[in-house]
């Protein structure tokens, strides 16, 4: 494929797989939740930890399965996708989590007010996470022959985002000595969907930056948009999952968090697909 053909290549399978990923994630959560309620398994501390870590790996596993299936039609080096996934995870574990949790100690102050939740979520959590996911792609695969079409930006950034999400979920499981399967699996799916979605935004900007002559503010705009969405999502999620306390007890709204994550992921994927198609039409019209 020439560079010109690559610029006009839409990768229909990838977008279908993005939608399937969102749907599968919801199905995965429903199945685990139903099984947990039906079987009510009893775990020892170590098996609970292992079950939690396994569940943390499942969202990335689902995406990789779909990616592998579509890869037959539009080959992309699986090793490279896995490497970017690993790099996203590594950067999250080595830099992202220590910066957010230990240096900025966000859990200590971010929930002190609405404005603190939004600003802290954007300036600290959002920028740290989105920059690291950008770096995982930008300083590895970006200038190689394998990154040969704009949609590759979304593919590799999604892989980095899922790597980061996997580490966040494993850290959550380990820090809590395991998780309640029902509530835990919802949280994991939300984190995976959110991280994959926001890094998809960065990926779109990366893809355009490589193959088109974009202004100097293009890439900073991409990171900023992803960070803003990241921060706003965390704030909104905090609102929708807030437990409702009544005289008869408290009810958990964790499911609303999943609904929100799925809707945001669907909308973002839709917008990115629309932008890619619009860009291709624009390029075709100008040639």
């Amino acid at each position: 494929m020439t560079e010109n053909e690559a610029r006009l290549h839409e990768r229909k399978h990838f977008w279908r797989d993005e939608l399937l990923l969102i749907l599968s994630m919801v199905i995965f959560v429903v199945v685990v939740y139903a099984l947990d309620n039906a079987l009510q398994p009893i775990f020892t501390p170590s098996t609970l930890l292992m079950a939690g870590v396994f569940l943390a790996l499942v969202p990335a596993g689902i995406w990789l399965v779909f990616f592998n299936l579509q890869d037959r039609a539009e080959p992309e080096p699986k090793g490279h996708v896995l490497a970017i996934f690993g790099l996203g995870a590594l950067l999250g574990a080595a830099i992202g989590i220590p910066v957010v949790e230990n240096l900025f100690r966000v859990s200590h102050w971010i929930y002190s007010s609405t404005i603190a939740t939004i600003l802290g979520g954007i300036l600290v959590v959002g920028f740290t996470q989105e920059f690291l996911k950008y770096a995982a792609v930008r300083y590895s695969i970006y200038y190689t022959d394998e990154f040969d079409e704009p949609t590759d930006g979304v593919i590799y950034a999604t892989a980095a985002g899922l790597g980061y999400a996997t580490v966040l979920n494993i850290q959550f499981v380990v820090a809590n000595g395991g998780v309640d399967l029902g509530a835990g699996v919802i949280r994991m799916a939300v984190v995976a969907l959110a991280q994959a979605t926001f890094s998809g935004i960065t990926g779109y900007f990366l893809g355009r930056a490589k193959f088109e002559s974009e202004p100097i503010w293009w890439m900073p705009l991409g990171i900023t948009l992803a960070a803003v969405f990241n921060g706003l999502f965390n704030w909104l999620q905090g609102i929708v999952i807030r437990p409702t306390v009544t005289l008869s007890g408290a009810s958990n709204n964790a499911w609303m968090g999943l609904v929100l994550a799925a809707v945001v992921a669907l909308l973002t994927t839709g917008v990115l697909l629309w932008l890619v198609r619009r860009n291709i039409k624009h390029l075709q019209a100008t040639e």
Partner: protein
């Protein structure tokens, strides 16, 4: 991975801009974090005033204790500041008050150990510093958590027949990181 393209000057500038924007966001985030963590509310009782941390829970106190604030967002043991005032004889030295405070802690706190005690200068005042450690154990039997190791430091100021004891207690893991906020509180105390 094979390199396909060299970095152009525009790419290089774009890359620098991304890093700059991220650093600016984090610096603003840092200042914002500091402004929240260092925000304070005035406290005053029995001739002692201080700038208490905003957003912490202030407990109703009784007896010698005039002030107790706990940071509920702390991981593990909630970082706690207290101010107490005890009446003493005019000629009692700070060392003796320190021993009395240590004895009192030993009676009330589990596995209490004094790590060090020494005379220090605290923002222009002479004080006695008592550094200690103990194990916090929740008496609630339904509480299924490991007991926490708590590190504490008391500053004992003695003058005119009374001793003011300013105390800082934090989870052993948070002691060093929370210390700078406590020093801000300590500096604000006037009596």
């Amino acid at each position: 991975m094979q390199q396909s393209k060299q970095l152009s000057l525009g790419d290089r500038y774009a890359e620098i801009t991304v890093v700059t924007v991220t650093i600016i966001a984090l610096v603003i985030g840092w200042f914002y974090k500091s402004s929240i963590e260092n925000a304070s509310l005035p406290f005053s009782a029995e001739g002692i005033s201080a700038e208490a941390p905003k957003g912490w829970i202030q407990f109703q106190t009784s007896g010698d204790e005039l002030f107790r604030a706990v940071d509920i967002n702390s991981k593990g043991f909630g970082t706690t500041y207290t101010i107490s005032k005890i009446i003493i004889a005019d000629d009692v030295p700070a060392l003796e008050v320190s021993s009395l405070v240590a004895l009192n802690h030993a009676q009330n706190l589990l596995a209490f150990r004094v790590l060090s005690q020494q005379e220090v200068q605290v923002y222009g005042r002479t004080a006695y510093e008592l550094d200690y450690v103990y194990v916090e154990s929740n008496p609630d039997l339904t509480h299924s958590e490991m007991p926490k190791i708590v590190r504490g430091t008391d500053y004992i100021f003695v003058s005119n027949g009374e001793a003011v004891i300013v105390s800082y207690q934090a989870d052993e893991k948070n002691y060093d990181v929370d210390l700078s906020r406590f020093l801000l509180f300590l500096r604000s105390i006037k009596f």
